[in-house]
Amino acid sequence: MEQKTLILGVIGADVHAVGNRILDYAFTQAGFKVINIGVLASQEEFIQAAIETNADVILVSSLYGHGEIDCRGLREKCQESGIGNILLYVGGNLVVGKQDFAPVERLFKGMGFDRIYPPGTMPDVPIANLRQDLGLV
């Protein structure tokens, strides 16, 4: 079967590189082609990378609490760029402080994300979801 391609990166002015490396390793081990655009990635970089590599999904990490501001408008820009149906996953410390996850999930669902993960999620959860969403199981 054709290898599925995913774009991985840490959005905004966020420089958390360790988790990014771990995710890169975990998704590669799980059989995906990982295009890792690293830290300090802008929305445009995610989208450009997805277009050029014909990616199936964009995985956004945000660890520093500004995820809401950084992710707003990403789905709309994807639509504008001709990849409106691409899967969007997001995870990390998406909002400031310890908040109930349910409203956070609602917020990001409203912004057009398909899967939203709370802090402390292990890589096998999104890997299982990806297989499901991409019809690999």
């Binding site: 290898q3 391609t5 002015a13 966020d14 420089v15 082609k33 295009i35 655009i37 830290v39 300090l40 450009q48 990378a49 277009i51 050029e52 590599t53 014909n54 990616a55 520093y64 609490g65 500004h66």
Partner: protein, 459 residues
Amino acid sequence: MQAVLLVDFGSTYTKVTIVDLETERIIGTAQAGTTIETNMMEGLHQALEKIPEPRDGWQFVRKLACSSAAGGLKMVASGLVKELTAEAARRAALGAGARVLQVFSYELSASDQEKIGALKPDILLLAGGTDGGNKEILLKNAEHLAELPFSIPVVVAGNKVVALQAAEILRKRHHPVVVAENVMPELNVLAVDSARLAIREVFLDNIIHAKGLDKAEEFMERVLMPTPAAVLSAAELLAQGFDDEAGLGELLIVDVGGATTDVHSLAQGEPSKPGVMLKGLPEPYAKRTVEGDLGMRYSALALGEAVGKRLAKHLGWTEEKVHRQLELYVAEPWRVPESEEESSFDTAMGRLAVELAVERHVGRIEVVYTPFGASYIQQGKDLTPLPVVIGTGGVLLRNAQPLGILAGAVFNPAEPTLLKPQEPEFYLDKDYILAAMGLLREISPLAALRMMKKYLVKI
């Protein structure tokens, strides 16, 4: 004596260099107007006559040439995303010594097709998609290009999965169609060497004939490459050395000409300070940029526009006076400064052209404030530790104060984000031999290297 004839058929001048391979000496250099309209050979012979002939006549063991005549190697490049494969394609074309007329991104529209038709490039470079990535764009653009009303040589350097298929589509209309390796095999990985070679191959096999340069080949052995490619090749040799003969190390060449200012850097350009992160598309070790709006004669008015009021301020002239002088240069591109005032104008112009051209060539550093303090991001090459800057080009070499012009290449503390060389040593290509040495490298790299080290003067 082992005389070698090296000729650069330039857009304005045909430059001749004769060297003795045995003693590694320059026997003579001369130039005459290029005669592309009639027969290339006329200009060449006029230039040759200026060098005293030995009693038993010239016995050239080799005769090599490069050319930027008839508009140089005109190319159009096309890719998918403007900042990614389209940019990679542009860099590949520049590195092959081309004049890049325009770069297109995404699917070619009807008006893009019209533009390509009007530009009539010598070669078209088609890229798009990483290997295994987007396939549609290469195929669609190949189909659009196949609809053009005439044939253009095409180099395909896109997604390898569909490159051959795209080439098949293109062959319905175009000849030749050469497939090279992808200019961006993985995201943010630049691989321009294969495309550069393919461009050179097409240049040798097709363009020389199309431009009437083959008349020169009846006398010369071969027109080997476009002139900028020869300069870049010489620069690479001079930087890296050959065998036991050491080079000068990483270097920058600034070529200030009448129509453009070209900058070549032979350097890795990695961050020189700790804690700096590299972002964006990596740049080739041998990087060439061409500034079409920074020429000293043909494009003097564009230069005036690019530098704005700085020229008038620098000289203490009125803006009107500056404008008149610029117009004069456009009207008389062969003009050599006649007065001290004009000479100082030339120096100021050159200085600003070099300042801007190097500014656009080098990388820049940006401070990003994160909740954890400041982070530094570098885009492009950090040339601050670069030890050598070399000046060449007609206008620069004729100027009485080449150092005054070249100083524009140096780091300016008032603009600390521009990563220009901080304390370089300056050299001058006084005898105008860089292109010739790029040609000589093809037959004797060691001699070419030693002669450059001998004939480039430190200033």
